[in-house]
Symmetry: C2
Subunit: 411 residues, 2 copies
């Protein structure tokens, strides 16, 4: 008789996972990248070179670079972060982690406990919101406009929390290509956020994992670079700029919290081969690869927006993001995207329903996030056409397009 | 002024890590492997082949194999585990993780909560003991003899706990090349452990991460293979058989607990490049590489035992292990290995003091664990000579060796 593990699970154990049944045919979810834009030749050459030169260090945990990760990769990041984000840091300020998801977990482990409060952007990365919920942490959502998190509302929220005796543990922001809104916070707001953080004694948690994907390559300085008070934890990733399956991200942080995260990081380091290959590839080719990737992704965004205009007409509202891999779309108010998600998935179209990407579950019910990096141009067109059909069937919108009505009129 | 993160840390935060200052010259700690035995050419060829064939899937999280890990690596493990350990499992029963450390964390997260009790081998892997302590879990240590965990004491402990109304969450064992004792539990004890587990309704957590390194290649069936009641969680690793820096391990477990661990594993998968390279390499070369590695390691063990006999004489007692990468050494009772550890580290010799590797902190005070895979034969000889000098200076043992006395007599 099979042993019953059920009674052994602690209270609060998450629901069991379902068995994986394969990827949907039209996948507009997840941070997957464009397989055609992957710099495969460069990565292969880098793998051959770095393994031939120093592959035997794979026999040693941490490649003899210590617990903060492969030193040449940190050295590359020091250069890159100064060049691209204005950040002045050293290799000792950096920790290589297994994707920015491990960065989120480490920062949260170091700072948060049940009942804590943090401040976040109202529309937000689902993985951040689910992590906070699982930890029993109260996430106060600050609305965004086209310039990112609104500083007037942030100021009011900080004042209100202070009046209630609550000091938030951090202000979490994705300032550069915000997820899911795609907005970029300008430098003035970044400076203002630093002033407010100083005034209220709250650190800033800056998640910059999409910052390489600004279409024109111009981005504001990182908040980490702007702050004068060593109160910013900055995280980033190679998932969006190179390849998500590699699972390599990083944390830049002051030693007072870095040393705590190191104490909590008991996994004996992140994958060494990937760190080696990335360091070797990026030192020589990052600055040539990323602009090509951006051009590729921008074209896919164009295809997605064209397909939405064609299939949904005015029923799909959106602002073209200035970079990234996703579009935040508003459908008519009667569309419940949680239901649309279920109906679409049955027919092989995967979308992110709005309420899963916001602290405001009500006003995002007719929103959806569409990722455009991974599907081909044809898949984008076919998938959006199918999604429009399903949405029409379920919710009566969009109305039939001109073409279809015309054809039906001829019958 | 620098921001002070101190007041933000939750109660119970571990002490901060110290800055890394480089590896000790003579390092007898850690699961590092022999760099000369690393199959570098094979891994490089595998990397080139697998990347050329399917490298573009790196653009997709999980390589389109789903959350349980790269399918060809799981397929290899299905074959390997049946051939080597008698385990009948399918790819669906396997989860690829970032080293067996993540396996420990996932199993513990799924099953344990503060105040729980588990049963472990008395002398034990430090990482297991520190994890349990951090979780606030009571670890009941069962003594070992040359045949591994003693089943008579296990039976008595289960009965005593039951009498006190305590049901342990699991029985944790490293049955094949136990860490640190190097013992191998025979099949009769494995069968007895399964009977006791059934009788008391307690699952077994089998950590088999050294099982590939039995000198003669002959090992008893895994406990997972012996149990008839789907109550065994089995974990393993490529750290010891191929390379620790890769950070690839696995869990074989019934779906009822696998599905819970999947729900808790929110890292979007382990490093893909490493899974791909391992699958490609191991399918063709695992069975030729591992015997060569074992021969290499066995020679290093011989060098270590010779050096200990030469330098420590009868002051160092040990039983030659039947496999693995470490030796569990008893020094005279007046030697405090916690102090020896500190003194030796100052002179560039790193050892594992016994109390960190046992639930019995008193009777292991004069014990130490010495890892022999990573240092060269010369480093082993020099490091042990230096350790003997330091031990003599600190504790008066070993007495001066014959050679030295003779020379001094001639002065």
């Amino acid at each position: 008789m099979a042993f019953d593990f059920g009674p052994l699970f602690p209270a609060g154990t998450p629901a069991p996972a379902q068995r994986w049944t394969g990827a949907p045919k039209y996948n507009f979810t997840g941070g997957n990248n464009d397989p055609d834009a992957l710099p495969l030749g460069g990565l292969m050459a880098a793998a051959a070179t770095v393994m031939a030169r120093e592959g035997r260090t794979l026999a040693t945990y941490g490649l003899n670079s210590g617990p903060q990760g492969y030193r040449p990769l940190r050295d590359f990041l020091v250069t890159k972060l100064e060049r691209d984000a204005g950040m002045m840091c050293t290799a000792d300020d950096l920790l290589i982690v297994s994707g920015s998801l491990q960065a989120l977990d480490l920062v949260n482990s170091a700072l948060l406990t049940r009942g804590d409060t943090v401040i976040v952007e109202q529309d937000n990365y689902q993985g951040t919101l689910t992590r906070l919920a699982k930890l029993g942490v109260n996430a106060v959502g600050i609305p965004l406009d086209s310039g990112g998190m609104r500083m007037d509302v942030l100021e009011a929220a900080l004042a209100q929390l202070q009046a209630r005796g609550i000091k938030p543990k951090y202000i979490y922001t994705i300032p550069t290509v915000q997820n899911p809104t795609g907005t970029i916070m300008g430098e003035a707001r970044r400076i203002r956020m630093c002033e407010l953080a100083d005034q209220y004694g709250v650190p800033i948690f800056e998640d910059d994992c999409y910052a390489d994907l600004v279409w024109d390559g111009e981005r504001p300085r990182a908040i980490y670079a702007i702050s004068h008070s060593d109160n910013v934890i900055h995280i980033g990733s190679f998932s969006k700029s190179i390849a998500p399956a590699l699972r390599v991200g990083f944390i830049a942080a002051p030693w007072s919290i870095m040393s705590r995260m190191l104490a909590l990081k008991t996994d004996a380091g992140s994958g060494a081969l990937e760190q080696m290959v990335l360091a070797e590839y990026c030192a020589a080719h990052f600055t040539e690869h990323v602009p090509a990737l951006r051009t590729d992704l921008n074209k896919k965004l164009d295809t997605l927006m064209e397909a939405l205009n064609e299939q949904f007409g005015t029923a799909a509202e959106f602002e073209a993001p200035k970079g990234g891999i996703f579009l935040w779309v508003k459908l008519p108010d009667n569309v419940d995207t949680l239901k649309l998600y279920q109906a679409a998935l049955k027919e092989g179209v995967a979308i992110n329903p709005g309420p899963e990407w916001s602290t405001d579950k009500v006003n995002t019910l007719s929103r959806m996030r569409l990722c455009f990096a991974s599907p081909s141009h044809d898949e984008i067109r076919e998938g959006i056409a199918l999604l429009a059909d399903i949405c029409r069937r379920e919710f009566g919108v969009p109305e039939r397009s001109g073409n279809v009505i015309e054809r039906r009129g001829q019958e």
